[in-house]
């Protein structure tokens, strides 16, 4: 990255930050739209992937804010269809990970994405406290966070009967290390899980 692009050691634009932290060069995008054409969720996004790249290319603070407040970055499934077909091999999924984490850090998450974020938090909490995903606990925790108390209630008994749900969590032995891993990685930026 060129020196003039930095200001007091902070990347001047979001695109610079992406390049510095993930190595993904936003400038490479020539707006062919192949990612948006193939994205299974493009129609459900507020800005399709190629448009996100275009907004970032401008370096315009207003547009960058729109990117960080977008629903797109949360509804992206990381299915990697975009990178599989991108002629410029721009790793959009990697960029999306960074944008999500930046959006969390700046507290600019999209209101429509609240459920998705709550789910992720519940998920990571479950791992943090038991080492593995405790599905029953995850669902209960997610419901408590999202207040979607009735969602999937019809499924639970059926799932239990079919042997899909454990009532009690399984705890792994290495839990102290797991806690250390969580605290070390949250110190190093990124979302403090839980």
């Amino acid at each position: 990255m060129s020196t003039e692009a930095r200001h007091n050691g902070i990347p001047a634009t979001l695109a610079d930050g992406i390049l510095e932290n993930t190595g993904v060069p936003v400038a490479k995008c020539y707006q062919c739209g192949k990612c948006s054409a193939g994205c299974p969720l493009a129609a459900d996004m507020d800005y399709p992937p190629s448009l996100i790249l275009r907004m970032l290319q401008t370096g315009d603070a207003g547009l960058e804010e729109k990117v960080l407040r977008s629903y797109t970055i949360w509804v992206c499934l990381t299915c990697e269809t975009c990178i599989a077909r991108c002629p410029m091999e721009i790793e959009i999924p990697k960029m999306m990970d960074y944008l999500r984490q930046e959006s969390l850090r700046r507290g600019t998450t999209n209101p429509r994405a609240r459920d998705i974020i709550r789910f992720h938090r519940s998920f990571l909490d479950s791992i943090k406290f038991t080492g593995r995903l405790y599905e029953m606990g995850l669902v209960v925790d997610y419901k408590a966070r999202s207040l979607h108390l009735l969602q999937d209630v019809h499924l639970a008994p059926k799932m239990y009967l079919k042997g899909h749900l454990h009532i009690l969590p399984e705890l792994i032995k290495g839990l102290p290390l797991m806690r250390r891993i969580f605290s070390k990685t949250s110190r190093r930026g990124g979302e403090a899980a839980g």
Binding site: P40, V75, T78, I83, A84, R132, E135, H166
Partner: protein, 301 residues
């Protein structure tokens, strides 16, 4: 033969039948799957969405546990776990300073020398060669082999099969007497991690997959990923709703299909655990007209 085995959380819970059928089929081939000791969750979508370092550290601990146990090949049946473990291994091998950083986090000096196998690779390498003569009930069904995203992408890292029209599962189906059809949604996304938090979207994405398979006359969809399974099976009502149709075809794990061909008891394979009942409408002889079915082929399993 002994192989390392990382079941992952789903296979302990909502996808128990996958684990059961993997173990059963591997057992038939004399493959003993030994669990990675005290394994943890790989972090799945949540970790890499929320925290990059965590998304590397969690799989790294799993790799560390396997390495410490001397495992050289780790079978990872869940496509999502396979993807996370493979990507982590790749990133750490590519970037020495990152490898050191993550090693410090997990308090173990990782070498990343164990090979990670997805279920198709395990079947192809260790199971299919050993069960060639054990096919008792050819799985004479017209099926859609569904690979999903995570087995083949990112292709540069996983380097597994063909990117847009993979063939490895189709080849296995052919070997057990089935008829894999040519269809267009082999690697389209099912909605994966949004299953709980954005269910209507999952209904739409998975619905499109079921629709293409059913238009082409698939009797079943064959999968190799618990997330794909739960979205196509458990979320079937949402799919039906999104597509305004009713799809009845069952969704089977590849290992269940092999198990049936080997004559393993459906219960052992966990077929009863599916939300969409595993029933076939046509007699196998009608379904796979190109291939004469043996007379003892069962109508319903």
């Amino acid at each position: 033969m002994k192989l390392g085995f990382y079941p992952g959380c789903s296979l302990e819970g909502s996808a128990r039948e996958y684990a059961e059928s993997v173990i059963a089929v591997a057992g038939e081939a004399g493959v003993d799957l030994e669990q990675v000791p005290d394994w943890n969750c790989c972090g799945a979508t949540a970790a890499h969405n929320m925290n990059r370092n965590l998304s590397l550290a969690l799989p790294a601990r799993i790799l560390a546990k396997a390495e410490a146990a001397g495992m050289k090949e780790i079978v990872v049946p869940c496509a999502a776990c396979y993807n996370r473990l493979s990507v982590t291994r790749h990133e750490l091998l590519e970037n020495e300073s990152l490898r050191r950083e993550i090693s410090a986090t997990i308090e173990y000096d990782l070498r990343c020398d164990a090979e990670i196998l997805n279920v198709l690779q395990m079947l192809d390498r260790h199971v299919m060669p050993a069960i060639g003569d054990k096919i008792r009930v050819p799985f004479a069904r017209r099926v859609a082999c569904y690979y999903g995203c995570l087995l083949v992408r990112p292709h540069k890292i996983l380097k597994f099969d063909r990117l847009e029209d993979p063939q490895s599962m189709d080849a296995i189906i052919r070997k057990i007497g089935g008829d894999p059809l040519d269809w267009a949604f082999k690697t389209e996304c099912c909605g994966a991690g949004l299953s709980v938090s954005a269910t209507p979207l999952v209904g739409k994405l998975s619905g499109r997959i079921l629709d293409d398979a059913s238009i082409r006359g698939a009797e079943a969809v064959i999968v190799a990923c618990p997330m794909c399974h739960s979205n196509l099976d458990m979320r079937r009502p949402h799919c039906d709703k999104a597509m305004k149709k009713h799809y009845t075809m069952p969704v089977l794990y590849i290992t269940q299909a092999i198990g049936l061909a080997l004559g393993i008891d459906p219960k052992t394979l966990g077929l009863h655990r599916h939300m969409v009942p595993v029933k076939f409408e046509k007699h196998p002889a009608d379904a796979a007209s190109a291939r004469p079915a043996p007379p003892d082929a069962v109508k319903e399993v």
